[in-house]
């Protein structure tokens, strides 16, 4: 059951966005996040909105999946809005008893809320259209120049993809061990923080041992299949930029200029 949870919530379908090189998507996501912080103007955010909506449409992922990520941050969002609304000094707009809403406060609150929302949705586009392994491959190829200064890019990427592969397995094992200990009367629910921590030992010790055992087995299997690290390795599906990637990279500066221009021209 637990094995059915996909990490990163990848939504499998065939779209231009899905088929883009993961490096392109990574660069774009970073640039997009950067732009949200740099251009603090409503006009710029309109530009960002146009981009977001267009990309979501092209990705063919249903909108409801995009907002799923928002569920986790609703509380944070509310706190941010409330704090900024009531606690920033400036010209008063509304006053209810002791609580003042200032113009600056409203401005900041709205921007923070928008920024957070767009950040989440933008990142969701990334994770919904790219599998975790595509991401690690993208990072491995993209950061490859770092190999020259002896940063173990390949090793880290390999470790990350193996970790991703085993997360569902270890989750399932945690469930099994919990049940086995519960069958021996273990109680993982009651007690204060210290008691709960102590009660975790029958869960954590077997889990760690199991993880080590798996790592040992896996290392043997990898060696048996000729693994010696990244040197000399080829890839079945090497990452190669396609026409769409080049177009995407070309649009990037256009987008940033548009953001800048909107702010300058419209002013707010």
């Amino acid at each position: 059951m637990i094995r059915d949870i996909t990490i990163g919530q990848y939504y499998p379908t065939d779209s231009v966005i899905h088929r883009l090189d993961p490096r392109t998507k990574l660069v774009w996501t970073l640039a997009y996040i950067f732009s949200l912080f740099l251009f603090r103007s409503f006009a710029s955010y309109v530009v960002a909105t146009v981009l977001l909506v267009t990309v979501i449409k092209i990705s063919k992922v249903p909108f409801k999946f995009m907002v799923k990520g928002m569920k986790a941050v609703v509380i944070l969002l509310l706190i941010t809005v409330v704090f900024n609304l009531f606690l920033i000094p400036g010209t008063t707009l509304v006053q209810i008893w002791k609580l003042r809403i200032t113009y600056e406060g409203l401005n900041t609150a709205v921007f923070m809320a928008l920024r957070l929302t767009y950040l989440i949705i933008g990142s969701s586009v990334m994770t919904l259209t790219t599998t975790p392994n595509q991401l690690t491959d993208g990072m491995e190829k993209g950061l490859a120049p770092l190999n020259k200064i002896h940063v173990p890019v390949h090793d880290v990427a390999m470790m990350m993809s193996i970790a991703l592969r085993f997360i569902p397995i270890l989750l399932e094992e945690t469930d099994k061990i919990m049940k086995a200990q519960m069958a021996r009367g273990a109680d993982f629910e009651s007690g204060n923080l210290i008691t709960k921590a102590k009660n975790m030992i029958p869960l954590l010790v077997p889990l760690f041992i199991s993880a080590f055992r798996r790592a040992n087995d896996l290392a043997m299997a990898m060696e048996a299949r000729g693994y010696y690290g990244g040197e000399g390795r080829t890839k079945m599906r090497p990452l190669v930029y396609q026409k769409n990637d080049r177009i995407a990279y070309a649009i990037l500066p256009v987008y940033l200029i548009a953001m800048f221009a909107a702010k300058k021209i419209v002013g707010i």
């Binding site: 519960m182 009367g185 029958p202």
Partner: protein
């Protein structure tokens, strides 16, 4: 000490893409002291079923009675139920965690809130029952062999003095010697202590040799329920659901087809031998010498 299941259904992953109706209208009664075997293909629901018996999984609908009490009733202690219904999972050696064998076995009885003396006494008794030599009691469980570790894990449940002992594939991954040892120990426990034993297994030969009753699970339903001989009569149907009868059953069926007047219900080598010898007009006396009929 009986267990009764009425109209048990279990569905998980409701309203997601992975919804599965794992148990479909299970009605079952297991009387005190029975030795039951549950067999079924992977995914048939047998593991899910046994986890219902000690309350680890709660049924979506239906009732379970232990000793006449409804375990889903308000205020019923599942923790207490688990002290009466002991469940040994598959590859139980993966649950060991203490620094030494004895301490690990003590974990279960300790959780029952018993006195230190009682805990130690029960643990030593349980270790003795699974046939583990005393010299291992103060060793780290991780220094033991796979088969030994498994016995420690089983002792961990026995030390809780359950009235019902459920074992999920206790012979998984063991070699023939290890397998025979564990099954013999379990059969001995059943005989000496009179506890109810429920054995989940893939191995028809093992199950046929020891149990009084076989329940066959197929895609969440109970397909057959009865004495081993009766159940293995349906060997063709068992095959179609991914199981098989013991090898000798097939031999007997084949012989019958060829005109031999043999007992097609033979499920062990000994029974098959006797039946075949009879056809040839021979009989073997208990001390092994022959005698013509």
């Amino acid at each position: 000490m009986s267990i009764k299941l009425e109209h048990i259904n279990y569905i998980y992953g409701e309203e997601t893409a992975y919804e599965k109706h794992a148990l479909k209208d299970i009605n079952l009664e297991i009387p005190d002291g029975q030795f039951v075997g549950i067999i079924g293909h992977t995914g048939s629901g047998k593991s899910t079923l046994i986890q219902h018996l000690n309350g680890l999984i709660k049924a979506t609908s239906g009732v379970i009675y232990y000793n006449g009490e409804n375990i889903y009733a308000e205020g019923y202690s599942m923790k207490e139920l688990r002290s009466h219904v002991g469940l040994v999972f598959q590859y139980p050696e993966y649950q060991l965690f203490e620094a030494d064998v004895l301490s690990d076995v003590c974990f279960g009885p300790k959780n029952l809130g018993l006195s230190e003396e009682e805990v130690k006494m029960r643990s030593l008794e349980a270790l003795h029952q699974v046939g583990l030599k005393e010299k291992y009691y103060d060793k780290s469980p991780f220094d033991l062999s796979g088969g030994q570790k498994r016995r420690v894990a089983i002792a961990g449940i026995l030390a809780m003095h359950p009235e019902v002992l459920i074992l999920d594939e206790p012979t998984a991954g063991l070699d023939p010697k290890g397998r025979d040892d564990i099954l013999d120990q379990i059969a001995k426990l059943h005989k000496e202590r009179g506890i109810t034993v429920i054995l989940v297994s893939h191995s028809m030969e093992d199950v046929a040799k020891y149990v009084d009753r076989i329940i066959v699970m197929d895609h969440g339903c109970m397909k057959f329920d009865g004495e081993p001989k009766k159940v293995f009569e349906h060997y063709k149907e068992l095959e179609s659901i991914g199981l098989s009868a013991p090898q000798v059953t097939y031999v007997m069926q084949d012989l019958k087809e060829k005109g031999f007047d043999v007992d097609v219900h033979a499920i062990t080598v000994e029974e098959a031998k006797q039946s075949i010898l009879q056809v040839f007009g021979m009989k073997v006396k208990k001390n092994g010498s022959e005698e013509n009929v």
